[in-house]
């Protein structure tokens, strides 16, 4: 087994105690097509934020999206079916939901994935806050094992055919496709970035602009 925990559990600042964020990173995933199909089929067992690692620049970007998804869910103003789709949508600087799934979410050709699961304990009655489809899936999931970090990790290891790597800025930056990041977050027109010689400093400036773009989505 790996010498790191495959699923990292993070408690975010300023979210209710009952919410916990769990993140895993998989390299060289072989069955992206299968995972993508589970999402399209709305298979409730696969309610994850499945993110294409190419568009991820840092841990903070992922955690920012999780924070936004949680706050939006708490406020009852989600624009997508559940917190996990909302998380993927939160990565986008634009209001186009289907485009955000295509750009930031898993696609059949994705090779590297950042997978996020937000667990709410005790679970909130979903019917009260989400769309009717979500309510159906909970009733269907009534007999499933409880949602715990261990069970999530087990489920991921069973169903994701890839190599788990730790959720660190280092592993994430190895997987970043800066061409896509610059395009999606409209950083190509930002001339002063190219004036920064130190690559690490430049990446951290771009990371900041990415987070700013996410925060300002549609406003």
């Amino acid at each position: 087994m790996a010498d790191f925990s495959i699923l990292e559990t993070i408690k975010l600042e300023h979210v209710p105690e009952s919410y916990s964020v769990h993140v895993a990173v998989f390299r060289d995933v072989e069955n992206a097509t299968y995972l993508h199909q589970q999402l399209l089929a709305r298979n409730a067992d696969f309610e994850y934020a499945l993110i294409d690692a190419g568009v991820i620049t840092s841990r903070l970007q992922v955690l920012s999206a999780a924070f936004k998804a949680i706050t939006v869910q708490l406020a009852g103003t989600m624009k997508t079916p559940n917190m996990h789709s909302e998380l993927v949508y939160s990565l986008s600087p634009t209001n186009n939901i289907s485009e955000s799934y295509r750009r930031y979410g898993i696609t059949p050709t994705s090779r590297n994935l950042v997978i996020v699961k937000i667990i709410v304990t005790p679970p909130v009655p979903l019917a009260a806050i989400a769309a009717p489809e979500a309510a159906e899936t909970t009733s269907a999931a009534g007999t499933k094992p409880p949602l715990t970090a261990q069970n999530v990790e087990k489920h991921l290891l069973t169903h994701v055919q890839g190599k788990p790597v730790p959720f660190t800025d280092q592993t994430l930056s190895d997987l970043t496709d800066w061409g896509r990041v610059r395009k999606y977050y409209k950083l190509n027109g930002v001339g002063w970035l190219d004036g920064i010689k130190d690559q690490a400093a430049k990446n951290s400036e771009m990371d900041m602009l990415v987070m700013g773009g996410m925060a300002l989505r549609g406003v």
């Binding site: 600042e13 130190d198 300002l216």
Partner: protein, 278 residues
Amino acid sequence: MATDSATHQFPLPAILEYPSSTPPELITQGAEGRLYKSTYLLPSIPCALKYRPPKPWRHPVLDARLTRHRILSEARNLAKCRREGVPVPNVYAVDESAGWLMMEWIAGDPVRVAINEWLQRRRDDERAQGRTGDAVVEGKGEADADLVALLRRIGAAVGRMHKVGIVHGDLTTSNMMLKPWERGKEPANGHNVESDGLLEGEIVIIDFGLASQSTSEEDRAVDLYVLERAFASTHPRAEKLFTAILEDAYREAFKQAPVVLKKLEDVRMRGRKRSMLG
């Protein structure tokens, strides 16, 4: 200004009621809003949260609309500056309906504090040499090099902000932070390694609560005028020097500076407000 007893005197915005590793700290209380220091995502990331509480004396619909508008316009102006390379805090998160804006925490002191400390030290030095210590700061010689360099950085930062089409609306030395240099960001020249370091750091402009998008030379001149007046009243001994250096650096950073500086002369004659006639 915030005191310890002021902390938690007011109800916190809902977002800050949720648990965090360190309790939010009330930094300052303005006419319209409050500024808290807190943390974003992880205990290791400090942030500033600006909260505009509901105003019970306003009609609720109007209140919601005004708050929303002001939070959004501040967030947009900050984001625009950041993208264009003007040194401002990055926006982390916005909830315009709840009335808050979460930003990057800028370390360091406001420029006002740094300049006052520097002037104080200078006065003490002069007195130690048997002089009265109220001499006007001329900006000549080694001793004043740090202040001149700082004023140049202020002028350049304001010039860059105006260049991207933003006017600040409340430009004072309290609304600029002196952020300790980050690795690789110190300027190659004008950087005095042997100084006391009081005036070292990157200028970061903060508080865009009254900022707006404008390219009118009138608005830009008023920005400079407000800064000039604020500076004159907080640091009278360095007033002359300030005007000269600021204008010079502003001119270098911003191509349309000459028109704005011409306008500034008019504004000086009549004050910040335009004529009430017509």
